[in-house]
Structure formats: C-alpha cells, structure tokens
C-alpha cells in the first residue's frame, strides 16, 4: 500500500509540470540496431524531468518537452540506455544496442525468474541476439563459445549428430555428463528416440536429442553453472542446467516473420593428409614395394566421398495478441545435405504457444507445443570400425593410384582397404523421429502477491530406423553374398507435473522477498525393439542390383533373428522444493533453496536426498560510499554454496534383475545394490560482477570448486557374480573440478551510425580424481578405457580412470623413436601420458555495425589437452604401404620402415589446442520496403571457416565415443565424419 501511495504522490507532483512546462513536441522511432525491428513499449523519458511515454506497436513515440529539456533517455529491457540530445530537433530515430547488463531484466532460474540484480549464483543468460549464427541444427550449437566454462564439442560432422556438452569440466566417470536440459519448464531426460541399431561396421554416432527444437524459435537460454543455482533441480543438477525458453507472442498487431536461407558445403575445414598419387609412387620406390601396387591413375578418395551438399531452411512465424491474449506460431522446413555423400538431415517442426488471461487477468493459461518430425540419412561412419573398415577409413587407406571404379563397376583391390564409394553405395541407413513436446500451465493469482501455478509437460517421441547393407559388397564376413537388413524402433515418454506457489512482496521499503515453493512429479519411459536378418536373394552382385531395399522384403532372408524388444525401468522423481530471495536495500541479497528429491532409481534404503543451497550478494555499487564513484556503474560480490545430485546411471541398477532372453535362457543380469544413492557435488562459487564506464565495459569473474563425492561407480562385481559390473557409491572418493571463469564485454562504440561491441570469455579448469579406492580392499581403482580400434590394435585401451589423475588420463606405452631397421621402439609397460580434458576454453565474439551493415564474428577454442590419433595408429600407418594401401604423410616422413609394426603409444598423442572461426556473418538490414515488407535484411554467413591447430587429424574439436565397458573416453579421434565449411545465404523480413 505504501508503494502505491508513493506512486500516487509522484503522479501528483509530476502532473503540474506536464501541464505548465510544455513547449515542444518531439517524435521518433526506436529500433533494435541489429535488424531495425521496432522496440515496442520502450520507455522514453526526459532527463531530469518526470515526463515519460512509451513507444507504440511500430516503435514510434511522441513526447512533449518543456523548454529547458536538453535530452531524452531511452530505455528498454535488455538494451543499454541511450541518452540523446534534443537540441534543435523535432524528430529523432534511435537505434538501440542490446546489452547483457540490464539489471532489472528477469533471468529464468527454474520454477520462476529472478531479477538479474538479485542473482547470487553463476548464471549466464543469453538472448536470441547473442546466439551463435550461421548454420545451426540444434540449440546447443547456439551457445558454442558464448559462455565461460561451457564446452560444446561437436563430435561429428554428420548433420544432427550429438555434441559433448560439459559445464565446468568433466564431473562424471560414467557415460553421461551432459547437463540437464529444461525446455519451457519441462525437464528432458536427455535421450533421443532415434533407435540405436548395430550394423556391420560398428556403432554409429548418436543423434542430438534436441534436434526437435527449432533454434529460430528460442528466445533465450540460461546456463546454470554453479550448484547454488542448479540445486533447485536437485538430483539432476550436478552437471549444470541449461534452460531453454521459446519465443512468445507479444501484445500488438499481427506480425508475420519470414526467413529463408541456403547453404553449401565448401570443403574440409581441415583435411587428414594422406599421400597423393605422386607421393605414393615415390613411397613405393623408397620402400621397395612391388610396382604392381601402382594402379596408374590418380584418385583423391577423400574428395570422392564428399559432396557439395545444399541446405535449405525456410521458417515462418505468426504472432500477435493483446493485453489478455497472445500467441505465436512458427514453422520450420529444413533440408540439409551432409558433407559425405548420401547423408542428410530433414526437419519439419512446428511450435505453437499462447498466453491467455481471464478473470481480470488473475487466471492465466499458458501453453507451448513443439511438434515435428526429423529424419536422418546416415552413412557407414562408425565409432569402432575394425579391420573391415568403413567409408572414412577406406577413403584414407585407398591406394591413390587405383581408380575407384572400372568399367562402371566398383574396383576392389585385394589390399583389404575396401572401396569407400562402394561402402557408401551399398549402405543405407534412414531414421525418422516424431517428437512432441508440450506443456500447459494454469496459474491463478488468488492473493495479491501469491500466485499458484500448475504445469503439465509431456515429451513424447517415436522413432524408426532402417538399415540396409547390400550383399554385393565383398570381403565382409556375415554380409558379403548375404546382405543385411535391420529395423529398429524406439519410444520415449517423459511427463512432468509441477505445482508451484510464488510469493513476491515488499516487506517495507527496504526489504523485498521473492519466494517459490512447489511439488513436482516426473517420470520417464524408454522402450524399443529391433529385428535383423541376413541371407537375401537380391542385390548380391554389382551387376544385378534392384532398387528394392531388403527392409521391404524382410521375409526373404534365410536367417532372421527374432524381434528383440526392451523397456527400460520407469524413472520416477518426486520432489518438494522451495527457494527464497531477500533483497535489503538493493545492497544485500540472500537466496536460499532446498530441494528434496526422491528417485525410483535409488536403492530401497536410500530413496530420498536433500539438496540445499545458499547464495549471498553484496551490491557494492549501491552502497552510499560508492555514490560518488564514477568508475563503477555496477559492482557486486557474490558467494554461493550448494549441493547437487547426479542420478545418471542405468535405471534398475539397485535391483536384482532377471532377463527373459533368447534361447529360453533366463539369467540374472544385474547384481543389485539396495544402498545405491545419488552422487553429490558440493560447489563453492565466488564471483565478482562489474560494469565500468556507465556500463560500457562489463563482465564477471568466478572462481569455483566442485567436489563430487559418493561417486556412483560402475565397479567390478565381486566374483562370482551374474554381471561383471555393479553400481556402488564410493563414499570417500572425490572428483574435483576447480577453476576460474572470466567474461568481459565492451560496448566500444555506440552511435546511430556505428556500433561495435566485443565479448570475450576464458575459463580454466583442473580435474582430479582423489581417494579413488575400492572400499573392500583399499586398493586404488584402476579403470582402463578408451578403446583403440583397427587392425592390429584390437583390445588396446589408451586411457585410465584412477586415483590422483585427471579423469581419462592417457595411459600408454612410451614411444622411443625407431631402431636402425626403422622399427618403432615402444616401452614394455604403459605409463601416464597426459590429460585429454581441455584445461582452458576461450570464446571471442564481436559485432560491428556501420549503418545498415553488420559484421558478427564468433570464434573459440580449447587448449591444454591431448588428442589420441587412432586413425594414424591403425588406418594410415606405414604398414599399409606393404599391403598396397595409402598411408599418412607423417608416417612417410618419420623414418619408420614398412615392417615396423602397429601399436598404440605416446607417438600418436598430439596437442589438441585449437582456435576455430566458428562463424562470421555479414548482414545488410535494408529496413522497410514499400508498405508491407518490414525489416528486410539479407546475410551471408560462413561457419567453421578455419581452425588453427597443430593436430594432424581432421578436426581437433573431436570426441569419438570410444568407451569401454561403459566407462567413457575423451578426446580420441578415429575415422570421424569430417567437418565441412559451410557458407549460408539468407534473408529475413516481416509483414
């Protein structure tokens, strides 16, 4: 009530000046300087006077000024305030620059929002304008290099492939250390409904589970990095949380936004250097190899498997509404051809959202529906190809003097390399996923400050996948002369029911309170099946092929395995949670939260866990003694502590399980552990936020220490046991990630004609495993992982998870050069050989606008880690020369003899440091054309333009899944899907 009185007083005081001092009217238009779109409801006020107005739906305003008014202040949430002179003008257009420093904007913190100034933890909030640009297939790519301490590693050049996402280092020694994704309040379970299906060449890279979210429809993304922020997500928060909020309609006239773009692949970002025909002939001579190995032609097999590949994206969005009802609907149609022949990603996605208010705006109904289909066409790229190879290994080892085809048929030399074009032609792998993510919420404000909200969310996905490998492909056991086919299906269903009470109140003029409390129930089911067969009668020779896929004549196969089905145990989480933020005088802010999570995954003896957090902030710049300071426009010191959990282990691990298997067997497959509980991470975070020079330079520095204990460990079962592994909590073991993150931004130039801003971030992380011992015997655990694949290196493991080492430390035989006969010298025993986890991540982006032309650049890299080059070890080693296969240039010039032998060693460890030009975009904003077309802009954009690195493989941004026995690997390269440069042209306008 008191607040209302103050406002009334202001109005009364303000009114006379409105009446008596007017002498001049200024009109104008306020726009976003990026695309000249109008800023609706921006505040225009007279500096030094209590006169304000708001812009209309087209961004225009009109304001009456007193004679002594000199300037106007323009402010808009998410943009830096502008002060413009009105001396001698009656009309003024202002292009506003977006800012990430607005202190009153709301940051989504889970189950509600918090004003930026009240944030006590480490949260980065990115708006659409901040996102990475260019060809974006999934939301995680929007964030690449934009957030200090967030690492998004594209593990494959395959369009739609999954990325490795880590916040603040590797905090898990199990396979999934991705953060929790929450979309419009619905926590996802991180899996994709694309079926996993084996094939003759090994396991294919995973599909990105976020493919169904149209990147164009995302309004903002929050990255919750510290435990105090993520603790509101309890047992799922330990890897950090990424909250995606889709675009909503706004009050105003109906609007149509249209976007179209076209892309082409423009070559390898980096090639794996093998010998060309001339060099190969030289090598044959140098090493005295038979002249019969010279096929007499010149072939670039690596180029032969790639295609220019065109991409088309069309998007359209409608939005509109008024005070009590708003909606937005958008559609995306996208066809992207991959860099390797035949591969593609198709997406057809629709997003519809609305916000409707009833009962004097007390009852609010919100809904968001994402529905769509995406299809992937894959080739025989595989993570674990053995001696029979795959498309990439065969292209690398292809004898460059041999033609790939002869007389219109594929040429198959007897050197065992395989023909990469034939691999591509004989292999077909198509999947189609229908995905549906919807939420609906009802909220009711039944006391003035108290709002109740119920949200129901559902994520439903079904996928089908068909693989055909034609039997004319020679030289592959169980395939050649037979033909293989497999069909898989998968179904994913996740539901969320959330009840929250939100209370916001000013407790006197100095103290304000924002509190939320709630109950949530979440469940997730995943099921699927697969069937495979071999021994078909068609397509068994190159010359007698039909276009009928085996999956259309499945019953024809001689050998059919039965339809194998599975349904994972249901995961259920039931929680109560509460969070309160107290702000005293805008100087001292305290946030405390508690979540109590019960999870069905945990053992009968440990169903519930508590996850508390507390954060404090001292807004130093609001202190009286800082009033006279002109340097800092904002200075705040934050400290937080929180406990988060991790329950990412296979559901069902706490129970003894018996499986009804093929061949009427009925074995026990899980040992069971009724004491199983969550892994908990205790994180301290200390941060400093600052803004200098009226907010033109801003940034933050954070130090964190994340100590993960009660480590959920896939341990070796105590034999005799039904399974060789079982899950336990290692109570005394610790996995410690600590580091520093620095983010700095500057609005260097801000005029109507030119704006230039720069953002940079850098983070340093160290990773250590401590007290990692077996509870029964107190011996150090020693878990080898990191499979090295290929001929001659079967069963070799390159990494180890053990005590007092970083996770996945390299553990390899030491390479000691070559002996006089050119044989490589390897130590008898392996030893620790370095860290595969990047210790430093850096990102740099800038945007420079001159009038209507804007250049945006985003770059980034990772430093301080080693990559193991499995491709050089096993595919392009010098032994290949003696078999008539191609080898890499490093092998040729090494001084090694052709009979040196193959072996994994430190020889193939390479510095992984890289810096990548992720995207550069030039956009020309034409503005309005005629009466109808508004905000027309056109752009040209280049993604993955170049990479600076010493790594000799394809792309140093690599993490092929080489897990062994479900223990994860890190930074191993093996015949990956190569990364292309992509050039995109496009245009956007609205009606």
């Amino acid at each position: 009530m008191r607040i209302l009185k103050i406002w009334l007083c202001l109005l009364v005081i303000g009114a006379p000046s409105l009446i008596f001092a007017q002498s001049k009217t200024v009109t104008g238009k306020i726009t976003d300087n990026r695309d000249e779109s109008p800023l609706v409801e921006a505040t225009v006020s007279v500096v030094g006077k209590p006169i304000t107005t708001k812009t209309g739906p087209d961004g225009s305003f009109s304001i009456n000024l007193p004679a002594d008014a000199r300037s106007l202040r323009i402010s808009y949430i998410g943009f830096t305030d502008r002060i413009v002179s009105v001396a001698g003008v009656t009309s003024i257009d202002v292009a506003m620059a977006a800012s990430s420093q607005n202190l009153t904007e709301v940051v989504v913190t889970g189950y509600g929002g918090t004003r930026r100034k009240d944030i006590t933890g480490s949260i980065v909030s990115l708006k659409a304008k901040d996102f990475n640009q260019g060809l974006i297939q999934s939301p995680d790519q929007l964030l690449q290099n934009k957030v200090a301490g967030l690492e998004v590693t594209n593990t494959s050049g395959q369009p739609g492939a999954a990325a490795t996402i880590q916040i603040r280092g590797n905090s898990s020694i199990r396979s999934n250390s991705n953060p929790l994704f929450v979309v419009d309040g619905v926590p996802l379970d991180g899996s994709s409904a694309r079926p996993n299906l084996g094939n003759a060449f090994g396991s294919t890279p995973s599909s990105n589970p976020l493919l169904f979210i149209d990147p164009n429809s995302i309004a903002q993304i929050e990255v919750l990095k510290d435990a105090a922020s993520a603790a509101i997500y309890g047992a799922r928060g330990a890897n950090g949380v990424i909250i995606i909020t889709t675009k909503k309609g706004s009050a105003g006239p109906m609007q149509i936004e249209v976007g179209a773009n076209y892309g082409v692949n423009a070559g390898f970002i980096k090639r794996f250097e093998v010998l060309d025909a001339g060099e190969y002939r030289g090598a044959l001579k140098k090493f005295n190899q038979p002249a019969t190995f010279d096929g007499g032609t010149s072939t670039d097999a690596l180029k032969a498997i790639t295609q220019v590949g065109f991409t088309q994206n069309y998007s359209v969005a409608f939005s509109g509404g008024n005070e009590v009802g708003k909606f937005r609907a958008s559609f995306l149609g996208s066809h992207q051809e991959g860099f390797l022949k035949k591969t593609a990603l198709d997406k057809y996605l629709g997003t519809i959202g609305g916000n409707y208010k009833f009962l004097d705006k007390k009852l609010v109904i919100d809904f968001n529906i994402i529905a769509g289909n995406y299809g992937e066409v894959l080739t025989s790229v595989s993570n674990t190809a053995g001696s029979t190879g795959n498309i990439v290994s065969s292209a690398l080892s292809w004898n460059p003097t041999e033609p790939l085809t002869k007389n219109g048929l594929y040429n198959f030399p007897s050197n065992g390399s395989g023909n990469p074009l034939a691999f591509n032609d004989a292999y077909s792998d198509k999947s189609s996923v229908n995905a549906f993510l919807a939420n609906m919420s009802v909220s009711y404000t039944f006391l003035k400050n108290l709002e109740y909200k119920f949200l129901y969310g559902i994520n439903y996905g079904t996928g089908i996948r068909k693989i055909n490998v034609e039997g004319w492909l020679p030289g592959i056991p169980n395939l050649s002369t037979l033909g293989n086919a497999a069909i898989g299906d998968a179904k994913l269903l996740t539901q969320t029911f959330t009840h929250t009470l939100n209370y916001t109140k000013d407790l006197g003029s100095k103290l304000s309170l924002n509190a939320v409390a709630g109950y949530e129930y979440w469940n997730s089911d995943f099921s699927g099946g697969s069937i495979d067969a071999r021994g078909f009668k068609t397509n068994l020779t190159q010359t007698t092929r039909t276009d009928i896929p085996y999956t259309s004549i499945f019953q024809n196969a001689l050998t059919q395995n039965p339809y194998n089905t599975f349904a994972n145990p249901t995961s259920e989480i039931q929680s109560v949670f509460a969070r309160a933020t107290l702000n005293y005088l805008d100087r001292y802010i305290v946030t405390a939260s508690l979540r109590r999570d019960g999870s069905s995954r945990f053992g009968a003896n440990n169903k519930y866990g508590n996850f508390p957090a507390v954060g404090v902030k001292w807004a130093i710049s609001n202190e009286d003694f800082m009033k006279s300071n002109t340097l800092f426009s904002n200075l705040g010191l934050r400290a937080s502590f929180g406990l988060t959990g991790n329950q990412e282990f296979p559901a069902g691990s706490s129970q003894e399980q018996f499986i009804l298997n093929t061949f009427t067997t009925f074995p026990q497959i899980v040992n069971g552990n009724p004491n199983l509980k969550w892994e908990s991470s205790a994180t301290y975070n200390v941060g400093l936020d600052f803004a200098l020079n009226k907010g033109k330079i801003y940034g933050s520095i954070d130090y964190y220490n994340k100590n993960t204990s009660d480590i959920l460990f896939q341990t070796n079962a105590i034999q005799p046991a039904p399974a060789s592994i079982s899950f336990v909590n290692l109570e005394d073991a610790n996995l410690i990630n600590s580091g520093v993150e620095i983010a700095i931004g500057a609005d260097i130039v801000q005029t109507n004609k030119i704006t230039w801003d720069v953002n940079a971030n850098i983070s340093f992380n160290t990773n250590d495993v401590k007290n990692f011992t077996d509870p029964n015997t107190n011996r150090d655990n020693f878990v080898p992982t990191g499979q090295i694949n290929g001929q001659g290196v079967s069963g070799t493991l390159a990494q180890v998870i053990t005590n007092n080492q970083p996770v996945n430390a390299y553990y390899l035989k030491t390479f000691g050069g070559f002996d006089s006969s050119g044989k490589q010298l390897l130590s008898a025993d392996p030893s620790f050989a370095g860290d595969p986890n990047p210790q430093t991540l850096a990102g740099f982006s800038t945007s420079l606008r001159y009038n209507k032309l804007t250049l945006s650049i985003n770059m980034g890299g990772a430093f301080g880690f080693l990559i193991y080059n499995n491709t050089a070890t096993a595919v392009t080693n010098i032994a290949g020369l003696a078999q008539g296969r191609n080898i890499d240039k490093a092998a040729l010039n090494s001084g090694e003899g052709v009979s040196s032998g193959v072996g994994a060693s430190t020889r193939f460890l390479e510095q992984g440091d890289y810096f990548k030009m992720r995207n550069a975009t030039i956009r020309y904003s034409v503005g309005n054309i005629g009466n109808y077309v508004k905000n027309f802009s056109a752009f040209v954009s280049g993604s993955n333009l170049f990479v600076l690195t010493k790594f000799t493989g394809f792309d140093p941004e690599v993490n092929i899944d080489k897990s062994s026995n479900s223990y994860p690997s890190r930074s191993i390269e093996y015949v990956p899907y190569p990364t292309p440069r992509v050039i995109t042209f496009g245009l956007n306008f609205s009606l």
Partner: protein
C-alpha cells in the same frame, strides 16, 4: 457466483489435480526384466536359469581369446605371431606364448570373470526350487567352472546360493577345493540323465571326475605332481564305465567329429555345445576356430576378409606326428600319414573353397585347384618357420606358420554363427585318460595297446614303445603326451596336460621361460581389488 465462493471451488479443483498426480512410493517398475520374487513365482523359470548357465559356456569355450588362448597359446600347440600391422594387439598374444603375462592381462581377467559368471549362474539355480535333475545339472556346470578356476588360478571364490553379492565370498584352495568338486560331481551324478550330448549326462560327470582324479596330484603340487594309485584306479573305473556303455565309438573320419554336421556324424561327443547354423539365438558358433587361422584370401567370396590370418602352430609340435622330414613342401596324399594331420579332400569344404582340413602347410589352392595368392600377390604357401620374437616383418609375413583347421568351416554360415557343435568332452580323450591311468599304475603294455588301438582307427602306424613323456624333448613322438597332442590338439586341454606330464616349465619354440610361477596364472588385479580373500599366486 461471486469471487469468494469461486475461490474455494478453484482451490478444491487444484487439490484434485494434485491428488491425481500425488505421492508415489517410488517403487521402480523394471518393465522388461523380472525381480527375483517374480522369477520364483513364474513356472518354468528354473529351466531358464539352467539354460542360462549352459549359455555361459559359449563365449568362454568358443572364443579364440578366452579359455582356448590360455590353454593353447600358452603351450607348444599354438601361437599368434604379429604380422606387420596385424595381430600386435598390444602384445597380448605374444606374452601368452612366451609366458610373460601379468595380472592385468585382459584374457586372464576375461576367463576369470567368465568362469565365475558360470559359477554364479549355476549356483543361482539352486535358489529357485530346482528339480533333482536341474540341481544336478547346475552342480555339474558349477563343477566345470570350479575345475577350470582351480586349474588356471589355483583357487576359486565360492558363494552359497542367495549370498549377498556386495560381500566378498570365501576362497577355496588346495585339497579342500578339489575334494569339493569331486564330492559335488559324485552327488550330482545319479540324478543326471544317461543320454550324452548338450545336456549334462552321467557320462559327462564321470568324464569330469576322471579329469579331477587324473589331475588331482598336479592341482596339489604343480611343480612336481604325484599320482596316487587310488586316484588312477578311479580314472580307470570311471573311464571303463564310459567305454563299455556302448554309447560311443571312435568316429572313422577324424574330421567328422568337427564338421558342420558333427552332431549327427560323430559318435564321440560326451558333452557338447550344440550350435545351429545361422541362428544367433544361442549366441554360439565355433567360426572363430577357422577365422583365427585362415588367411584373408582363403575363401573367394570374402576376400580379403575371409580369415584373420593369425593363429599358427609351431614346427616342433608338428614334428610330433613323426612324419619324418621337416614339413616344408608338404602334400599328403589321401592314404599317407596319420589321419589326424588332415590334408585330405573333405566334401563340403575342399569342393567349396579348396580347403583340406587339418594342418595347412605349403601352397594353398582354391576349389578349382588354382593356387591362391596372398595380398601382396605372393603364392599363399604356409611355411613352418616363424620369427623367433614372434614378430613377422618380412615380405612373407602373411604366410609364415603352419595353420590348423580342426573345425571344418560351415560354408553355409561362414562368418557365423556356424552350425558345428563344440566338442567339450570327447570320447577319445576319455580313452586316452584310461590309457594314461593304466600307464601310471604300471600297466604299460595295456596302455600301449589302447594307444595303438586308437592310432589304428586314425590311420596311424602303431607305436612300438611309449613313455609318458621325455623331459628332454617335449615333442618326442613316442610318448603318451604326444599322443594326447596328436589326438587333442587345439581342444583346450594342452596346458593342463603339459603340467601333469611335468613339461610346462620346459622351453619350446619361442618360449624360453622355465619359471615355475607360470604353472598358475595370476589372479587378475581387478579381482584382487574387489575380494580381499583372494591371494595372489606366488611370483606375481
């Protein structure tokens, strides 16, 4: 309706919604697997548990890198030379042959875990109200696991049915360990069926008892085994029960015991693992037995991946067949030599790929009798010589080493799963065990007669005299151990045999170590880390 009235209604409806989604007990629904209570309540589930224990044999016994590798590559019968870029595999194969393994060796670990999985799954049957026969089968299968664990590692962990798997089990060793296995087999035997084959039979139990009694002295003291007359008499009695049962006979064509249709052709199978060609449902197939040794170009349609071009035997072992000269240009006719050497036309193989099962030496031919070439275009002619360090580097690296194809490839399902049944316990082995027990109890003429009876059926000339073993020449042809080698080569018994004949610590080709610690494999470090009751074997 005024606001005040509406509010409670609204609140009530919220409560209703909350109740709908309300508290759950968080009991985990497994959805496609069963809990142990559900298993107990499901009729017929015990049979599935028994089947699961049988299925544990498949990987353990079929794979080239499990029991086969430890029992064969560690002996004079088999080795895997590194061939240029192939078969280095971090040296795992070479260290097995040269006896330089350690407690981190993957094969040593995998066999330990595989045997203990069988140990567990067989024990678990006893928890689910088995019938008398099911219990007997389970105890028999567990005895197999314990027998191998004791033989390879000198000790075995043991759990009672229903024991808490998070607790470390007791470990048995020495006389207690072997006596328990014997007692178990004796207890199980009466409840087993009499028909031999894939299901544990009384004869299978007798056979395993024979092995226990024959090896008991070696299990108790591997360095200097002794053989108690009573034990040997048990071997003879049990063996005679098998021999006189009328259920078995020596199969005239040796390779019919190992052919894709050996289930029908062989009369020697006492305990077998039945495989069905082309059906992966039993997860089996002995295809690795030919893939691991045959050259990449051995079968035209699968060139150049028709084989893995790895496993070979050494010329010393080959010489125990006493064929005379070093087998350089070997080309046996269909009438010469010991039938077990092979080299003869075999229908279903030679007419399809040119392959003549048995020992492969010299030029190989395809089904059209055209000489086959290796990947470099050299003649595919296997040579007996192998580099002393087992690392082949020369131009001939693809063709060194005599190859051994005992299981005749199933060309209908060449890549697998192939249809040949795996011979786990074979009649000829029982025959030779009786002969050995007679020898060890002083009945040397009776022993020689039995050996020569077998040799006659194998188209081999009789031995005029025979000793047990020649400590100065492992491959002396006129010894019983060599006869066992000639009959049972590549059947995963060689290591146990060499230890029993006190030859395992003698040097042979490419193995110079005479260290007695190698008589036992080390307990894998991984197992030691999990169970404090396991004690590392001496020397490791």
């Amino acid at each position: 309706m005024n606001r005040n009235k509406m509010f409670p209604n609204f609140a009530l409806s919220l409560v209703a919604v909350a109740a709908m989604t309300g508290c759950t007990k968080l009991n985990e629904n497994l959805n496609s697997t069963l809990t142990s209570a559900e298993v107990s309540a499901t009729p017929g589930s015990t049979a599935g548990l028994v089947q699961a224990a049988y299925a544990d044999l498949t990987g353990l016994l079929h794979s080239q890198d499990q029991l086969f590798s430890l029992q064969e590559n560690a002996t004079d019968e088999s080795l895997v030379p590194t061939r240029g870029g192939d078969w280095d595999d971090n040296g795992v194969w070479r260290v097995v042959h040269s006896h330089n393994w350690n407690a981190d060796h993957q094969q040593v670990l995998n066999v330990f875990n595989g045997l203990n999985k069988l140990n567990f799954n067989a024990t678990n049957v006893l928890l689910f109200k088995p019938s008398a026969q099911q219990a007997a089968e389970a105890r028999f299968l567990r005895a197999i696991a314990l027998y191998h664990l004791l033989d390879l590692y000198g000790q075995y962990p043991f759990r009672e049915p229903g024991e808490n798997l998070l607790n470390a089990p007791v470990v048995r060793t020495g006389a207690v360990a072997i006596d328990f296995i014997i007692a178990e087999l004796n207890a199980a035997l009466p409840a087993l069926p009499t028909t031999p084959g894939a299901v544990a039979s009384q004869d299978a139990a007798r056979f395993l008892l024979m092995r226990c009694f024959l090896n008991k002295g070696a299990f108790l003291n591997k360095a200097t085994p002794t053989f108690a007359a009573a034990d040997m008499q048990q071997v003879i009695t049990l063996g005679n029960a098998i021999i006189t049962s009328g259920r078995y006979s020596i199969t005239p064509n040796y390779f019919d015991n190992f052919s894709p249709d050996n289930g029908a052709k062989s009369k020697e199978g006492i305990f077998t693992y039945v495989n069905t060609g082309g059906v992966a449902a039993n997860n089996g197939g002995p295809q690795a037995r030919w893939n691991m040794t045959l050259h990449y170009n051995s079968y035209t349609p699968l060139n150049p991946n028709a084989g893995w071009n790895g496993f070979s035997t050494v010329s010393e072992f080959y010489s125990s067949f006493n064929t005379g000269a070093t087998p350089t240009a070997f080309g046996p006719s269909d009438t010469l030599f010991d039938g077990r050497i092979g080299g003869r036309f075999y229908r279903g193989a030679t007419d399809i790929s040119g392959l003549r099962p048995g020992f492969l030496v010299g030029q190989q031919f395809n089904e059209l009798n055209v000489a086959t070439k290796d990947r470099k275009g050299n003649p595919l002619a296997y040579t007996p010589a192998i580099a002393a360090n087992m690392i082949e580097t020369g131009n001939n690296l693809e063709v060194t080493g005599i190859r051994v194809v005992k299981y005749v490839p199933d060309y209908e399902f060449y890549g697998g799963p192939a249809g040949n049944d795996l011979m786990i316990f074979r009649f000829a082995d029982a025959w030779l065990m009786v002969a050995e027990a007679r020898f060890r109890t002083g009945d040397i003429p009776g022993s020689l007669t039995m050996v020569n009876q077998l040799r006659a059926l194998r188209n081999a000339p009789p031995l005029s005299s025979m000793t047990l073993a020649n400590p100065n020449k492992v491959n002396d042809p006129n010894t019983l151990i060599s006869e066992r080698g000639r009959e049972l080569y590549w059947e995963s018994v060689r290591r146990t045999d060499l230890i029993r004949f006190n030859l395992f610590s003698k040097p042979w080709q490419f193995k110079t170590s005479t260290d007695a610690k190698n008589l036992l494999f080390p307990i894998p470090n991984q197992a030691l880390a999990a169970n404090p009751n396991l004690k590392q074997n001496t020397g490791y």
